[in-house]
Symmetry: C2
């Protein structure tokens, strides 16, 4: 248990960190000036009900575009503003693979107006070399440095070496990283983090994985162990909770399932993960908004309370 | 920082608590049997991604009915099922003060079907002795043991002793407790916890307060200090976050404001609070659902992570 004295001590330590931590948000910096811990019992400043500032993390909460596959971009962006989330992995139903420069400019203007950063594209399935070229040309036109993709199609049972070779060539040409998406027991091709690791470990270091912590766990693999084990190759993360570590496990609001989020978030910090932790919410996809909001609230509280 | 060894040790301690803690939920007990921590690195059982069970708290999350003042009972109950919250303080727009036995029975059947417990009625304003009689007769017909109320009306500047005397008489007759609602700087009558304490401390111990941690803080009073100081008389709690400890402070999603929820929840445990912590969400009252869900997720995560 943290007692009051420990609490005040850690508050002061946090305040001291202020000048050292550039990632500190402006709002929190302002708050700490207004409400710096002072003598106990005094009201206003020193009011124990008022929280101390917490330094920002290097990683950020985002949304996997797939979450909104029943909703248009305007609805998606309005909702993201409401829940105060500002990173989106762009899915093709919001911006098609054949989008031209004008369409891409209009798309990016909408994101900018909503204060949302499109940090990556995908997941994109690349069944052959031609599909790789299309996907990479698209990522270049959109102007992202990360492509979430699958080198193959849903029915494949083995990785396609030719496709992987072409991707590696494209990664070197464009400096756009590839994060291979894993899909747990639902898909034979890349069910878990280890299966991706095996195929990328001897390739360009910009080839890695989008670690879906739910699907990986549904395959029986330990997602927190794998985050640690494969940290160098974890380029994107799909955040979700699931009800069981089996194929029968299904997506659920964060906190209602079996994943240990405090431990997960501590591991993100331990390995120095700096990318997006993007909620891919696959429950109630016709009306996912309350569940997403609950999940976002849960994630934020774990972030705050585990510093 | 909790390292892996400390984590495993605390997991084992939690598992040991199982047989001692009757408040443990069935689901969590089942999970602990399925996923008891075992040898490190082994998959399935011993998977570090799977959280350890956390004992339930003695207090429970609820909803203040006022939150839904733009919505009918059916909408309210359907949403409460969605967010998995099961305690409701009954507001008169859902069940009028003059409801007869038949109307009350129909109302209670709806709550039971939604797995919701109507744990109290109110807030009810009682401007005179006749209003006290009406409110208490209503609470008796509804069958609750707690009435959240204001002994007076919105414009009052001083407590009405005659009304308080009548309430005390009714408390003794009916054994229905009174929780006086405070309203911060918006209302001269009972702006904070101390003002209520002064009026109830020498009265029947079943007379106390509904501590609204947001309004109390907006008055400049320290809600966590007051929860500790007046614990014996805190009979109900309105949960909210606010943006500033002043009249200009307004309601906001839990976690986005200035209240230190980890410290608040630790204090609930420290004082042994056993009642409802009822979210009264006063932002976006025409469309509060996402904000409520986010707040519920935030509260639950703080509960889990501060054990």
């Amino acid at each position: 248990m943290v007692n009051r004295r420990t609490f005040l001590r850690s508050s002061l330590a946090s305040a001291a960190l202020l000048s050292l931590t550039p990632a500190f948000s402006k709002r929190e910096a302002e708050m700490s000036l207004l409400f710096a811990p002072s003598s106990e019992g005094k009201e206003g400043a020193g009011n124990s009900t008022i929280k101390s500032p917490v330094p920002d993390d290097d990683f950020h909460l985002g949304m996997a575009g797939y979450t909104f596959n029943k909703f248009d971009l305007d609805t998606t962006l309005a909702f993201m503003q409401k829940i105060d989330v500002h990173y989106l992995c762009i899915k093709d139903f919001h911006l098609p693979l054949d989008a031209n420069a004008e369409q891409i400019a209009a798309f990016k203007a909408k994101l900018a107006a909503a204060n949302v950063i499109g940090y990556a594209v995908g997941p994109i399935y690349m069944k052959d070399v031609a599909a790789v070229d299309i996907a990479y040309a698209y990522a270049q036109r959109v102007g992202v440095d990360l492509l979430v993709g699958v080198p193959g199609t849903w029915g494949d049972t083995a990785p396609n070496r030719e496709v992987l070779d072409r991707i590696e060539q494209k990664v070197r040409e464009t400096n756009i990283r590839l994060a291979i998406h894993l899909h747990g027991p639902d898909m034979a091709l890349y069910p878990d983090a280890t299966s991706i690791w095996e195929d990328v470990k001897d390739r360009d270091p910009r080839m890695g994985m989008c670690l879906d912590i739910g699907h990986n766990l549904r395959y029986g693999s330990d997602s927190i162990r794998d985050l640690k084990r494969y940290a160098k190759r974890v380029l994107d993360i799909h955040l979700k909770d699931v009800t069981a570590p089996t194929k029968a496990g299904h997506a659920i609001e964060l906190g209602r399932g079996i994943i240990d989020f405090p431990l997960f978030i501590k591991m993100l910090r331990k390995v120095g993960y700096k990318g997006s932790v993007s909620l891919e919410y696959e429950k109630d996809m016709n009306d996912p908004f309350n569940g997403i909001a609950e999940s976002v609230g849960y994630f934020r509280a774990v972030q705050k309370t585990t510093r």
